[in-house]
């Protein structure tokens, strides 16, 4: 294996960022012009949305359970056990729901997109598509982008609800809190800004999952080994991006809505 000079490595990195930007830009632009592949969009919605439901419900539910258990221990010291519902709902809606959903869907779907498109790339199916007059970005990337952004929004709502339900179950059945006051606390502590913040994040996460997954898939080289590498890179990069963008969006939202 030959060693590459640092400037060549840097050039490759810059070129990769440029390629990613072009791909993402074109995927967005294709939403607003015909033809739009509706059948592919609905297929992807089913795969991403319905297919991810079990893991989203389970991870959301048990995160809510753990959150309730852990927070009660800390709140007891301040005599604020009644605030458990408030803490669980705020944590789930503002942070854990969106981020966990993003990470879970990233692990499932960014990997799926990278491996599917990567396999198509190494078997020349993407070149064949272009040779047959179909734009692969329009046919493969745009439907996945639309489907992921749309479905991640609703998956996040489901994760939030499952988390709050899990927290309620633990608080009422294991910690002996009053169900009515727990739910009232949960509900009344949520402000308009919290909901907006929690539901803005999946839009960014969905965009990251689809574009990063498709980007690594469409630049796959090196046969089956390359497909495996692209899949791993897609999951790692999209997960890190989701957490970084989560921080940026949170800071932005605090700036807009206050704490």
């Amino acid at each position: 294996m030959s060693l590459l000079s640092p400037d060549l490595i840097l050039k490759k990195q810059v070129a990769a960022v440029q390629e990613y930007s072009i791909l993402a830009g074109r995927a967005i632009a294709d939403i607003f012009s015909r033809p739009i592949y509706w059948a592919d969009i609905f297929t992807q919605m089913d795969s991403i949305g319905a297919g991810s439901m079990p893991i989203i419900i389970l991870s959301g539910f048990f995160t809510g359970c753990v959150l309730a258990l852990q927070s009660v221990t800390a709140l007891q010291e301040f005599g604020a056990v009644s605030m458990t519902g408030s803490l669980v709902s705020l944590s789930m809606v503002k942070e854990l729901g969106p981020v966990l959903t993003g990470l879970m869907v990233s692990g499932r779907n960014a990997a799926g997109m990278a491996s599917e498109l990567g396999s198509m790339k190494v078997t020349e199916q993407i070149d064949a598509m272009r040779a047959l007059g179909t734009d692969p970005v329009r046919k493969l990337v745009t439907p996945r982008l639309i489907a992921t952004v749309f479905m991640l929004f609703f998956l996040t709502i489901i994760a939030d609800a499952a988390g709050i339900a899990g927290g309620t179950l633990v608080a009422v059945n294991m910690l002996g809190l009053n169900a009515s006051s727990y739910l009232h606390n949960s509900y009344s502590s949520l402000m308009h800004g919290d909901i907006v913040q929690g539901l803005t994040k999946p839009i960014f996460s969905g965009f990251i999952i689809a574009t990063v997954g498709c980007f690594f898939g469409m630049r796959t080289t090196g046969g089956t080994q390359g497909v495996g590498r692209a899949t791993t890179q897609a999951v790692v990069v999209s997960s890190v991006f989701i957490i970084v963008v989560d921080f940026i969006v949170t800071r932005l939202m605090i700036g807009i809505f206050g704490s």
């Binding site: 060549l8 390629e19 072009i22 791909l23 074109r26 294709d30 012009s33 015909r34 033809p35 078997t123 020349e124 199916q125 070149d127 064949a128 598509m129 272009r130 040779a131 047959l132 007059g133 179909t134 734009d135 692969p136 970005v137 329009r138 469409m218 630049r219």
Partner: protein, 283 residues
């Protein structure tokens, strides 16, 4: 990933004038990373001609085909297809141009999630052709490659030779003016290779389609140069005492080595070449 977008408003590309070159490369060069793959490539292919691209593995034959179809862009030089400089074409014009080009890929490149019918009809479905009309066209194309009984099968259920035949059916379904064959017999046994070459010959002699054919099998290239398709008996050798002296006059050869053209000419010129590298290559 610089790509040509299709559009619903299909732009028209002027048909090539009679006698005009269908494919024209002028001083075309392309480099991958730091490695030059093709350097200063210039040649033309006239209407109805078949150009066979020969050369050792990795000399840039497949890259040349992808350049001809606009799948890759050259670093320098001009490529004209049907008289149009493809570098200057708008995306929708490129889309219209590609509708006139059929391509058979090295490993068939069939869509593995679609059955044979949907693979062959892919272009027709994209053009929103009514299902009954598309089905009739698919059956016709599959009859040409003698594979009409496999219409419902998936690519994973087909042998290598059958996949290559489906790929040919997919390339010819829109009656293209130019066909690009990228090693259509690569990795196949001699008997299956002969079947595929017969189909290439059939397309050449029945439809008189201009074509570029990449191969590294000399026997396939010379079979194509010395045989004609006969509807009654399949491949037949061209009579040596006939007007063509046993060689198809529409065949040209282009031999590449290390990204450069080392020979461009007729079958006769190739076999009588005094170039020591070509002599060694042909042996």
């Amino acid at each position: 990933m610089a790509e040509d977008l299709p559009s619903t408003d299909v732009a028209t590309v002027e048909p090539a004038k009679a006698g005009a070159a269908v494919v024209q490369f002028e001083d075309v060069s392309i480099t991958f990373d730091v490695k030059p793959v093709l350097q200063g490539i210039s040649f033309t292919v006239e209407r109805g001609q078949t150009l066979i691209l020969l050369g050792p593995a990795g000399c840039g034959k497949s890259v040349l085909l992808k350049l001809a179809n606009g799948l890759l862009k050259p670093d320098s030089g001009t490529i004209r297809i049907f008289g149009e400089d493809i570098d200057k074409l708008q995306r929708r014009e490129m889309y219209a141009l590609r509708a006139r080009i059929g391509m058979v890929f090295q490993e068939s490149a069939l869509f593995d999630s679609l059955n044979v019918e949907d693979n062959v009809a892919y272009r027709l479905h994209e053009e929103q052709m009514p299902e009954t009309e598309a089905h009739a066209r698919v059956v016709e194309a599959l009859k040409f490659v003698e594979l009409e009984t496999s219409i419902d099968k998936f690519p994973s259920e087909l042998s290598g030779g059958m996949r290559r035949r489906v790929s040919i059916a997919r390339a010819i379904i829109s009656n293209p003016d130019l066909i690009l064959y990228d090693s259509p017999t690569g990795g196949l046994d001699p008997i299956t290779s002969a079947t595929i070459m017969e189909l290439v010959m059939k397309q050449r002699d029945v439809s008189h389609t201009t074509s570029l054919l990449v191969t590294h099998r000399l026997q396939d290239a010379f079979m194509l140069a010395t045989h004609r398709f006969d509807a009654a008996g399949g491949m037949k050798p061209i009579a040596k005492d006939g007007p063509d002296h046993g060689i198809d006059p529409g065949m040209k050869f282009l031999v590449l080595n290390e990204g450069k053209i080392v020979f461009h000419g007729t079958t006769e010129e190739l076999v009588h070449s005094e170039d020591p590298w070509i002599k060694r290559y042909l042996e």
